[in-house]
Symmetry: C2
Protein backbone atom coordinates (compact mmCIF):
# COMPACT_ATOMS: atom_id res chain seq x y z
CA UNK A 1 0.00 0.00 0.00
CA UNK A 2 3.02 2.28 0.42
CA UNK A 3 3.18 3.68 -3.09
CA UNK A 4 -0.58 4.22 -3.53
CA UNK A 5 0.23 7.91 -3.31
CA UNK A 6 -2.54 9.07 -5.63
CA UNK A 7 -5.07 7.17 -3.56
CA UNK A 8 -3.55 8.49 -0.33
CA UNK A 9 -3.74 12.01 -1.79
CA UNK A 10 -7.42 11.45 -2.66
CA UNK A 11 -8.17 10.08 0.82
CA UNK A 12 -6.46 13.07 2.41
CA UNK A 13 -8.26 15.49 0.08
CA UNK A 14 -11.68 13.97 0.89
CA UNK A 15 -11.16 15.01 4.51
CA UNK A 16 -11.85 18.63 3.54
CA UNK A 17 -15.53 17.58 3.48
CA UNK A 18 -17.32 18.45 6.73
CA UNK A 19 -17.88 15.47 9.03
CA UNK A 20 -15.59 13.11 7.11
CA UNK A 21 -12.83 11.50 9.18
CA UNK A 22 -9.93 9.29 8.03
CA UNK A 23 -11.92 6.01 7.96
CA UNK A 24 -14.86 7.51 6.04
CA UNK A 25 -12.47 9.20 3.62
CA UNK A 26 -10.72 5.92 2.92
CA UNK A 27 -14.04 4.12 2.41
CA UNK A 28 -15.17 6.88 0.03
CA UNK A 29 -11.94 6.73 -1.97
CA UNK A 30 -12.17 2.93 -2.36
CA UNK A 31 -15.86 3.17 -3.25
CA UNK A 32 -15.26 5.77 -5.95
CA UNK A 33 -12.34 3.88 -7.49
CA UNK A 34 -14.16 0.53 -7.42
CA UNK A 35 -17.77 1.40 -8.12
CA UNK A 36 -18.17 4.96 -9.42
CA UNK A 37 -15.30 6.29 -11.49
CA UNK A 38 -17.71 8.29 -13.67
CA UNK A 39 -19.12 9.91 -10.55
CA UNK A 40 -15.61 10.66 -9.27
CA UNK A 41 -14.59 12.24 -12.57
CA UNK A 42 -17.77 14.33 -12.63
CA UNK A 43 -17.28 15.43 -9.01
CA UNK A 44 -13.71 16.41 -9.86
CA UNK A 45 -14.94 18.60 -12.71
CA UNK A 46 -17.78 20.05 -10.60
CA UNK A 47 -15.38 21.07 -7.84
CA UNK A 48 -12.88 22.66 -10.20
CA UNK A 49 -15.65 24.52 -12.03
CA UNK A 50 -17.33 25.69 -8.82
CA UNK A 51 -14.08 27.00 -7.32
CA UNK A 52 -13.45 28.94 -10.53
CA UNK A 53 -16.90 30.41 -11.13
CA UNK A 54 -18.88 30.63 -7.88
CA UNK A 55 -18.52 33.81 -5.82
CA UNK A 56 -20.70 36.06 -3.70
CA UNK A 57 -23.59 38.21 -4.99
CA UNK A 58 -22.64 41.87 -4.73
CA UNK A 59 -26.06 42.71 -3.25
CA UNK A 60 -27.19 39.85 -1.04
CA UNK A 61 -23.93 37.95 -0.46
CA UNK A 62 -25.33 34.55 -1.55
CA UNK A 63 -23.48 32.30 -3.98
CA UNK A 64 -23.79 33.14 -7.66
CA UNK A 65 -21.84 32.88 -10.91
CA UNK A 66 -22.80 36.42 -11.95
CA UNK A 67 -22.23 39.83 -10.40
CA UNK A 68 -25.72 39.67 -8.88
CA UNK A 69 -27.83 36.60 -8.14
CA UNK A 70 -31.15 35.88 -9.88
CA UNK A 71 -33.22 36.93 -6.88
CA UNK A 72 -31.55 40.34 -6.65
CA UNK A 73 -31.91 40.85 -10.43
CA UNK A 74 -35.63 40.02 -10.33
CA UNK A 75 -37.47 43.35 -10.82
CA UNK A 76 -40.79 41.83 -9.71
CA UNK A 77 -39.58 41.46 -6.12
CA UNK A 78 -40.38 44.01 -3.42
CA UNK A 79 -37.13 45.94 -2.84
CA UNK A 80 -38.51 47.63 0.29
CA UNK A 81 -38.34 44.34 2.24
CA UNK A 82 -35.00 42.83 3.22
CA UNK A 83 -34.90 39.41 4.87
CA UNK A 84 -31.71 38.44 6.75
CA UNK A 85 -30.89 34.72 6.76
CA UNK A 86 -27.85 32.74 7.90
CA UNK A 87 -27.38 30.49 4.86
CA UNK A 88 -28.55 29.98 1.26
CA UNK A 89 -30.33 26.83 2.52
CA UNK A 90 -32.40 28.99 4.90
CA UNK A 91 -33.22 31.34 2.03
CA UNK A 92 -34.36 28.36 -0.04
CA UNK A 93 -36.67 27.22 2.77
CA UNK A 94 -38.27 30.66 2.98
CA UNK A 95 -38.65 30.81 -0.81
CA UNK A 96 -40.47 27.47 -0.71
CA UNK A 97 -43.12 28.92 1.63
CA UNK A 98 -44.17 31.39 -1.12
CA UNK A 99 -45.02 33.93 1.61
CA UNK A 100 -42.20 36.40 1.00
CA UNK A 101 -41.61 38.48 -2.10
CA UNK A 102 -38.87 40.82 -0.86
CA UNK A 103 -35.10 40.61 -1.20
CA UNK A 104 -32.52 38.87 0.97
CA UNK A 105 -29.23 39.35 2.72
CA UNK A 106 -27.35 36.12 3.35
CA UNK A 107 -24.93 36.35 6.29
CA UNK A 108 -23.15 33.08 5.41
CA UNK A 109 -22.85 32.37 9.12
CA UNK A 110 -23.84 33.77 12.50
CA UNK A 111 -22.15 35.74 15.24
CA UNK A 112 -20.16 33.26 17.28
CA UNK A 113 -17.54 34.90 19.51
CA UNK A 114 -16.32 31.48 20.71
CA UNK A 115 -15.43 30.57 17.11
CA UNK A 116 -13.97 34.03 16.51
CA UNK A 117 -16.79 35.07 14.16
CA UNK A 118 -17.58 38.74 14.76
CA UNK A 119 -19.61 41.41 12.92
CA UNK A 120 -16.83 41.96 10.36
CA UNK A 121 -16.76 38.31 9.30
CA UNK A 122 -20.48 38.48 8.49
CA UNK A 123 -20.11 41.67 6.40
CA UNK A 124 -22.63 43.37 8.68
CA UNK A 125 -21.41 46.78 7.53
CA UNK A 126 -22.66 45.87 4.03
CA UNK A 127 -26.00 44.78 5.50
CA UNK A 128 -26.34 48.06 7.41
CA UNK A 129 -25.40 50.08 4.33
CA UNK A 130 -28.01 48.15 2.34
CA UNK A 131 -30.71 48.53 5.03
CA UNK A 132 -30.17 52.29 5.25
CA UNK A 133 -30.05 52.96 1.49
CA UNK A 134 -33.45 54.66 1.56
CA UNK A 135 -35.20 51.92 -0.45
CA UNK A 136 -35.52 49.33 2.31
CA UNK A 137 -38.33 50.10 4.77
CA UNK A 138 -38.36 46.88 6.80
CA UNK A 139 -35.68 44.35 7.72
CA UNK A 140 -37.06 40.88 8.55
CA UNK A 141 -34.65 38.93 10.75
CA UNK A 142 -34.86 35.23 9.89
CA UNK A 143 -31.72 33.92 11.57
CA UNK A 144 -32.13 30.59 13.38
CA UNK A 145 -33.79 30.43 16.80
CA UNK A 146 -30.65 29.01 18.36
CA UNK A 147 -28.62 30.95 20.92
CA UNK A 148 -26.19 32.17 18.29
CA UNK A 149 -28.93 32.98 15.78
CA UNK A 150 -30.87 34.92 18.43
CA UNK A 151 -27.72 36.81 19.45
CA UNK A 152 -27.07 37.67 15.80
CA UNK A 153 -30.65 38.89 15.38
CA UNK A 154 -30.38 40.95 18.57
CA UNK A 155 -27.11 42.56 17.45
CA UNK A 156 -28.48 43.47 14.00
CA UNK A 157 -31.73 44.67 15.51
CA UNK A 158 -29.99 47.01 17.97
CA UNK A 159 -27.64 48.33 15.28
CA UNK A 160 -30.45 49.06 12.83
CA UNK A 161 -32.88 50.50 15.40
CA UNK A 162 -30.27 53.10 16.34
CA UNK A 163 -30.39 54.09 12.66
CA UNK A 164 -34.21 54.26 12.68
CA UNK A 165 -34.77 51.25 10.43
CA UNK A 166 -37.92 49.19 11.07
CA UNK A 167 -36.90 45.68 12.13
CA UNK A 168 -39.05 42.57 12.58
CA UNK A 169 -38.38 38.97 13.57
CA UNK A 170 -40.07 35.73 12.46
CA UNK A 171 -42.81 34.81 14.94
CA UNK A 172 -41.99 32.25 17.59
CA UNK A 173 -44.62 29.83 18.88
CA UNK A 174 -46.10 26.36 18.68
CA UNK A 175 -45.28 24.67 15.33
CA UNK A 176 -48.16 24.02 12.95
CA UNK A 177 -49.51 20.55 13.77
CA UNK A 178 -47.82 20.72 17.18
CA UNK A 179 -49.39 19.13 20.25
CA UNK A 180 -48.88 21.13 23.45
CA UNK A 181 -48.03 17.95 25.36
CA UNK A 182 -44.95 17.40 23.22
CA UNK A 183 -43.80 21.01 22.80
CA UNK A 184 -41.04 22.24 25.12
CA UNK A 185 -41.94 24.66 27.90
CA UNK A 186 -39.81 27.49 26.48
CA UNK A 187 -41.75 27.44 23.21
CA UNK A 188 -45.13 27.39 25.00
CA UNK A 189 -44.01 30.25 27.28
CA UNK A 190 -43.03 32.25 24.18
CA UNK A 191 -46.33 31.42 22.47
CA UNK A 192 -48.24 32.56 25.58
CA UNK A 193 -46.33 35.87 25.78
CA UNK A 194 -46.76 36.50 22.05
CA UNK A 195 -50.42 35.43 21.96
CA UNK A 196 -52.56 37.21 19.37
CA UNK A 197 -56.16 38.43 19.34
CA UNK A 198 -58.25 36.30 16.98
CA UNK B 1 -31.20 30.34 -6.35
CA UNK B 2 -32.48 29.26 -9.80
CA UNK B 3 -29.34 30.03 -11.80
CA UNK B 4 -26.83 28.67 -9.29
CA UNK B 5 -26.32 25.88 -11.80
CA UNK B 6 -22.64 25.35 -11.01
CA UNK B 7 -23.48 24.96 -7.34
CA UNK B 8 -26.42 22.68 -8.16
CA UNK B 9 -24.09 20.63 -10.35
CA UNK B 10 -21.59 20.37 -7.48
CA UNK B 11 -24.34 19.38 -5.02
CA UNK B 12 -25.59 16.72 -7.42
CA UNK B 13 -22.04 15.47 -8.05
CA UNK B 14 -21.31 15.17 -4.31
CA UNK B 15 -24.10 12.60 -4.08
CA UNK B 16 -21.83 10.04 -5.76
CA UNK B 17 -20.12 9.76 -2.35
CA UNK B 18 -21.43 6.81 -0.34
CA UNK B 19 -23.85 7.76 2.44
CA UNK B 20 -24.31 11.34 1.25
CA UNK B 21 -27.93 12.40 0.63
CA UNK B 22 -29.27 15.65 -0.84
CA UNK B 23 -29.16 17.65 2.43
CA UNK B 24 -25.60 16.58 3.29
CA UNK B 25 -24.48 17.25 -0.27
CA UNK B 26 -25.91 20.76 -0.13
CA UNK B 27 -24.26 21.42 3.24
CA UNK B 28 -20.94 20.14 1.89
CA UNK B 29 -21.17 22.32 -1.22
CA UNK B 30 -21.91 25.46 0.84
CA UNK B 31 -19.16 24.58 3.32
CA UNK B 32 -16.56 24.14 0.57
CA UNK B 33 -17.52 27.36 -1.22
CA UNK B 34 -17.62 29.38 1.99
CA UNK B 35 -14.85 27.95 4.13
CA UNK B 36 -12.52 25.71 2.13
CA UNK B 37 -12.02 26.64 -1.50
CA UNK B 38 -8.41 25.46 -1.40
CA UNK B 39 -9.60 22.09 -0.11
CA UNK B 40 -12.26 21.93 -2.82
CA UNK B 41 -9.74 22.73 -5.55
CA UNK B 42 -7.33 20.12 -4.19
CA UNK B 43 -10.10 17.50 -3.95
CA UNK B 44 -11.05 18.28 -7.55
CA UNK B 45 -7.47 17.67 -8.68
CA UNK B 46 -7.13 14.54 -6.53
CA UNK B 47 -10.29 13.02 -8.02
CA UNK B 48 -9.28 13.78 -11.60
CA UNK B 49 -5.79 12.41 -11.01
CA UNK B 50 -7.02 9.27 -9.24
CA UNK B 51 -9.53 8.44 -11.98
CA UNK B 52 -6.77 8.80 -14.55
CA UNK B 53 -3.96 6.90 -12.84
CA UNK B 54 -5.37 4.39 -10.34
CA UNK B 55 -6.19 0.89 -11.61
CA UNK B 56 -5.95 -2.70 -10.40
CA UNK B 57 -2.73 -4.61 -9.69
CA UNK B 58 -2.27 -7.36 -12.30
CA UNK B 59 -1.33 -9.85 -9.58
CA UNK B 60 -3.33 -9.11 -6.45
CA UNK B 61 -6.15 -6.91 -7.78
CA UNK B 62 -5.61 -4.09 -5.26
CA UNK B 63 -5.42 -0.43 -6.32
CA UNK B 64 -2.11 0.77 -7.75
CA UNK B 65 -0.71 3.29 -10.20
CA UNK B 66 1.73 0.75 -11.68
CA UNK B 67 1.29 -2.61 -13.42
CA UNK B 68 1.92 -4.33 -10.09
CA UNK B 69 1.54 -2.97 -6.56
CA UNK B 70 4.46 -2.51 -4.17
CA UNK B 71 3.57 -5.57 -2.11
CA UNK B 72 3.55 -7.85 -5.15
CA UNK B 73 6.85 -6.37 -6.39
CA UNK B 74 8.54 -6.92 -3.00
CA UNK B 75 10.96 -9.83 -3.50
CA UNK B 76 11.44 -10.25 0.26
CA UNK B 77 7.87 -11.50 0.71
CA UNK B 78 7.01 -15.20 0.88
CA UNK B 79 5.39 -16.02 -2.48
CA UNK B 80 4.23 -19.43 -1.27
CA UNK B 81 1.60 -17.83 0.99
CA UNK B 82 -1.46 -16.14 -0.52
CA UNK B 83 -3.87 -14.29 1.77
CA UNK B 84 -7.37 -13.55 0.42
CA UNK B 85 -9.00 -10.35 1.76
CA UNK B 86 -12.15 -8.46 0.82
CA UNK B 87 -10.76 -4.92 0.61
CA UNK B 88 -7.47 -2.95 0.60
CA UNK B 89 -8.48 -1.70 4.08
CA UNK B 90 -8.53 -5.30 5.34
CA UNK B 91 -5.11 -5.88 3.79
CA UNK B 92 -3.82 -2.78 5.58
CA UNK B 93 -5.13 -4.09 8.91
CA UNK B 94 -3.32 -7.42 8.41
CA UNK B 95 -0.12 -5.62 7.39
CA UNK B 96 -0.28 -3.60 10.60
CA UNK B 97 -0.20 -6.80 12.67
CA UNK B 98 3.30 -7.62 11.28
CA UNK B 99 2.43 -11.33 11.49
CA UNK B 100 2.15 -12.10 7.80
CA UNK B 101 4.90 -11.90 5.21
CA UNK B 102 3.20 -13.57 2.23
CA UNK B 103 1.33 -12.06 -0.71
CA UNK B 104 -2.31 -11.06 -1.09
CA UNK B 105 -5.30 -11.35 -3.34
CA UNK B 106 -7.82 -8.55 -2.88
CA UNK B 107 -11.36 -9.56 -3.91
CA UNK B 108 -12.67 -5.95 -3.86
CA UNK B 109 -15.93 -7.28 -2.49
CA UNK B 110 -17.58 -10.50 -1.36
CA UNK B 111 -20.02 -13.00 -2.80
CA UNK B 112 -23.47 -11.51 -2.36
CA UNK B 113 -26.13 -13.18 -4.51
CA UNK B 114 -28.78 -10.73 -3.26
CA UNK B 115 -26.74 -7.84 -4.67
CA UNK B 116 -25.98 -9.80 -7.83
CA UNK B 117 -22.29 -10.23 -6.97
CA UNK B 118 -21.17 -13.68 -8.10
CA UNK B 119 -17.81 -15.45 -8.54
CA UNK B 120 -17.16 -13.68 -11.86
CA UNK B 121 -17.51 -10.20 -10.33
CA UNK B 122 -14.80 -11.04 -7.77
CA UNK B 123 -12.39 -12.32 -10.45
CA UNK B 124 -12.28 -15.66 -8.62
CA UNK B 125 -10.96 -17.36 -11.77
CA UNK B 126 -7.87 -15.16 -11.47
CA UNK B 127 -7.51 -16.12 -7.79
CA UNK B 128 -7.79 -19.84 -8.64
CA UNK B 129 -5.28 -19.50 -11.45
CA UNK B 130 -2.90 -17.73 -9.07
CA UNK B 131 -3.41 -20.28 -6.26
CA UNK B 132 -2.70 -23.19 -8.60
CA UNK B 133 0.37 -21.69 -10.29
CA UNK B 134 2.72 -24.12 -8.50
CA UNK B 135 4.37 -21.42 -6.37
CA UNK B 136 1.58 -20.93 -3.82
CA UNK B 137 1.44 -23.72 -1.22
CA UNK B 138 -1.14 -22.27 1.17
CA UNK B 139 -4.10 -19.93 0.72
CA UNK B 140 -5.10 -18.05 3.91
CA UNK B 141 -8.74 -16.96 3.78
CA UNK B 142 -9.11 -13.65 5.63
CA UNK B 143 -12.54 -12.54 4.44
CA UNK B 144 -14.76 -11.03 7.11
CA UNK B 145 -16.58 -13.22 9.62
CA UNK B 146 -19.95 -11.96 8.44
CA UNK B 147 -22.43 -14.24 6.69
CA UNK B 148 -21.31 -13.04 3.27
CA UNK B 149 -17.61 -13.19 4.17
CA UNK B 150 -18.01 -16.73 5.52
CA UNK B 151 -19.91 -17.80 2.41
CA UNK B 152 -17.17 -16.32 0.23
CA UNK B 153 -14.50 -18.16 2.22
CA UNK B 154 -16.50 -21.41 1.96
CA UNK B 155 -16.90 -21.08 -1.79
CA UNK B 156 -13.19 -20.38 -2.35
CA UNK B 157 -12.21 -23.13 0.04
CA UNK B 158 -14.32 -25.75 -1.74
CA UNK B 159 -13.11 -24.64 -5.16
CA UNK B 160 -9.44 -24.78 -4.16
CA UNK B 161 -9.66 -28.02 -2.18
CA UNK B 162 -10.99 -29.77 -5.27
CA UNK B 163 -7.76 -28.63 -6.91
CA UNK B 164 -5.64 -29.95 -4.03
CA UNK B 165 -4.53 -26.53 -2.73
CA UNK B 166 -3.98 -26.23 1.04
CA UNK B 167 -6.46 -23.70 2.44
CA UNK B 168 -6.62 -22.14 5.92
CA UNK B 169 -8.89 -19.63 7.63
CA UNK B 170 -8.12 -17.01 10.28
CA UNK B 171 -8.85 -18.46 13.73
CA UNK B 172 -12.16 -17.62 15.33
CA UNK B 173 -12.45 -17.25 19.09
CA UNK B 174 -12.58 -14.89 22.04
CA UNK B 175 -10.95 -11.50 21.20
CA UNK B 176 -7.74 -10.60 22.98
CA UNK B 177 -8.72 -8.76 26.17
CA UNK B 178 -12.26 -10.19 25.90
CA UNK B 179 -14.24 -11.13 29.01
CA UNK B 180 -16.39 -14.25 28.61
CA UNK B 181 -19.34 -12.55 30.30
CA UNK B 182 -19.54 -10.01 27.50
CA UNK B 183 -18.70 -12.23 24.51
CA UNK B 184 -21.62 -13.59 22.48
CA UNK B 185 -22.52 -17.26 22.79
CA UNK B 186 -21.68 -18.05 19.16
CA UNK B 187 -18.11 -16.85 19.60
CA UNK B 188 -17.66 -18.84 22.84
CA UNK B 189 -19.13 -21.95 21.18
CA UNK B 190 -16.65 -21.54 18.34
CA UNK B 191 -13.77 -20.99 20.78
CA UNK B 192 -14.77 -24.14 22.66
CA UNK B 193 -14.91 -26.26 19.48
CA UNK B 194 -11.59 -24.85 18.25
CA UNK B 195 -9.86 -25.11 21.65
CA UNK B 196 -6.12 -25.75 21.46
CA UNK B 197 -3.76 -27.80 23.56
CA UNK B 198 -1.43 -25.56 25.57
Amino acid sequence: MKSASTLDFLTEALRCLPGIGPKSAQRMAYHLMQHDRDGAAMLGRALTQAVETVHHCASCNTFTENAQCDTCMDDSRDATLLCVVETPADQLMIEQTMTYKGLYFVLMGRLSPLDGIGPKDLHLERLIQRATDGVVTEVVLATNFTNEGEATAHYISETLKSRSVQVSRLARGVPVGGELEYVDAGTIARAMLDRRAT
